[in-house]
C-alpha cells in the first residue's frame, strides 16, 4: 500500500516537473472583477431566498398558500441557477427555448399526477 502511494506520488511529481520544461506560452488575463462580483451577488440571492424559506417554514401554518410560496421561491432559485450559473440567459435564443419549452411538459405531468393522487385515497 505504502509503496503504491509512493509510486503514485513520484509519478505525479514527474508530471509536475515535466510540464515546466515543455509548457506552452499562454497569456493569462486578469480577473473580470465585475463578473465575479455578479456571481457572488447571485450566490447571496440564493442564500437569502433559502433563508426566507426557512422563516416561512416555521412561521406559517401548513396549507396551499404555504406550498404556493415555496413553489414560487423554488422557481426563483432555479431561474438564477439555470440563467446565471449555467449561463443559459446569455446563450443563443434557439438553445434557450429548446431547453425551456420541453420543461412545460413537466408542469403538465405534475398537475395531472398530483390531481390523480388526490382522486385515489389509499385508506
Amino acid at each position: 500500500m505504502g509503496i503504491c502511494i509512493h509510486i503514485l506520488l513520484s509519478r505525479i511529481t514527474t508530471i509536475f516537473m515535466a510540464h515546466h520544461s515543455n509548457e506552452p506560452q499562454v497569456t493569462v488575463l486578469p480577473p473580470d472583477k465585475e463578473k465575479i462580483k455578479k456571481l457572488w451577488t447571485v450566490a447571496g440571492i440564493l442564500g437569502a431566498v433559502t433563508a426566507v424559506e426557512f422563516v416561512i417554514a416555521f412561521t406559517m401554518s401548513h396549507g396551499p398558500a404555504k406550498t404556493a410560496i415555496f413553489v414560487i421561491l423554488t422557481i426563483v432559485k432555479a431561474g438564477y441557477i439555470v440563467g446565471e450559473f449555467m449561463h443559459l440567459r446569455y446563450e443563443v435564443k434557439v438553445l434557450f427555448w429548446a431547453i425551456l419549452i420541453p420543461t412545460l411538459f413537466i408542469i403538465w405531468m405534475l398537475v395531472a399526477f398530483v390531481y390523480e393522487g388526490m382522486q385515489m385515497p389509499v385508506f
Partner: protein, 236 residues
C-alpha cells in the same frame, strides 16, 4: 445553434435527466396526495403509519447534538454547502475563460471539497434515518406464519419497515435522495478528472478550458435538483 457540440449535448442530457428527476418527485407528490395528512397541531405530532409525516418532524437531528430538536437545520447546512460549491465551480469556469490555470486549480479544489462535504453529510443523514430515533413507533405487521396482525416496535427505516410514517415515505427518501446523491458522487468524480487534467496542463495545451464549462453545467444541475428536492421533500 451557436453553441459547441459538447455543450449542446450536455444540455440535452441534462434535460432528459430533469425528466427523470421530475418523474421521481411527481410520483412522490402523487403518493403523498393519496395519503391522509396529520390533522392536529404540529406540536402534537407523533409518528404513525396512519398519515403522512410532517418532514420537519422527521429531519430534526444534527451531528453531535443528540436529543435536541433542530428541525431542518442539518439539511439547511447541506443546501448551503451545495450552493457554495456551485459558486466555486462557476468561478473555475470564469478562470478557465482567462486561461488562468492556477485559479482553475484553486476553485476546482474548493468545488471538490464542497462535493465531498455534501456526500459526507448525506452519509450521516442516511445513517440517522436508517437507525432511527430513541423512541420506537408501534406498527401492525402481518405475520405470515400465524396469519394474524402483530403489534411490533419499529425503529428506523428501510425498504421493509418505516417508523416515521407510511412505507412509501421511506422508499421515496431512499430513492430520491439516493438518486441525487449518486449524481453528486459522479459529479465529484468528474470534477476530480477536470482538476487532474488542469493540474497536468491538458487544457492549457489544448488551448481552452471548455471541459470545465461542460462539467460545470452538470455540477450546477446537481445543485438545481437539490433545490427542488429540498423544497418538495423537506419543506412542503
Amino acid at each position: 445553434m451557436g453553441a459547441s457540440y459538447g455543450k449542446l449535448m450536455m444540455w440535452f442530457f441534462l434535460l432528459s435527466d430533469a425528466f427523470t428527476f421530475s418523474g421521481l418527485l411527481i410520483t412522490y407528490g402523487l403518493v403523498r396526495a393519496s395519503h391522509p395528512i396529520f390533522e392536529g397541531l404540529p406540536a402534537d405530532f407523533i409518528f404513525s403509519t396512519e398519515y403522512w409525516p410532517i418532514p420537519e418532524k422527521v429531519f430534526e437531528a444534527v451531528p453531535f447534538l443528540h436529543g435536541y430538536s433542530l428541525p431542518l437545520v442539518f439539511v439547511g447546512i447541506m443546501t448551503f454547502i451545495l450552493i457554495m460549491s456551485s459558486v466555486t465551480m462557476v468561478l473555475a469556469v470564469e478562470a478557465g475563460h482567462r486561461m488562468d490555470r492556477k485559479a482553475v486549480e484553486k476553485w476546482m479544489l474548493w468545488t471538490l471539497v464542497g462535493g465531498i462535504a455534501f456526500l459526507s453529510c448525506q452519509a450521516w443523514e442516511w445513517t440517522h434515518f436508517i437507525v432511527g430515533t430513541d423512541t420506537a413507533t408501534m406498527k401492525d405487521v402481518f405475520n405470515l406464519k400465524t396469519g394474524i396482525w402483530d403489534q411490533v416496535k419499529v425503529t428506523g427505516a428501510n425498504l421493509h419497515v418505516n417508523q416515521y410514517g407510511p412505507q412509501p415515505f421511506a422508499d421515496f427518501f431512499f430513492f430520491i435522495t439516493g438518486f441525487h446523491g449518486f449524481h453528486v458522487f459522479s459529479g465529484v468524480m468528474f470534477n476530480f478528472l477536470i482538476y487532474y487534467n488542469t493540474v497536468t496542463g491538458v487544457y492549457e495545451r489544448r488551448g481552452h478550458y471548455e471541459m470545465v464549462e461542460k462539467v460545470g453545467l452538470y455540477w450546477h444541475f446537481v445543485d438545481l435538483v437539490w433545490v427542488f428536492v429540498f423544497t418538495f421533500f423537506y419543506l412542503v
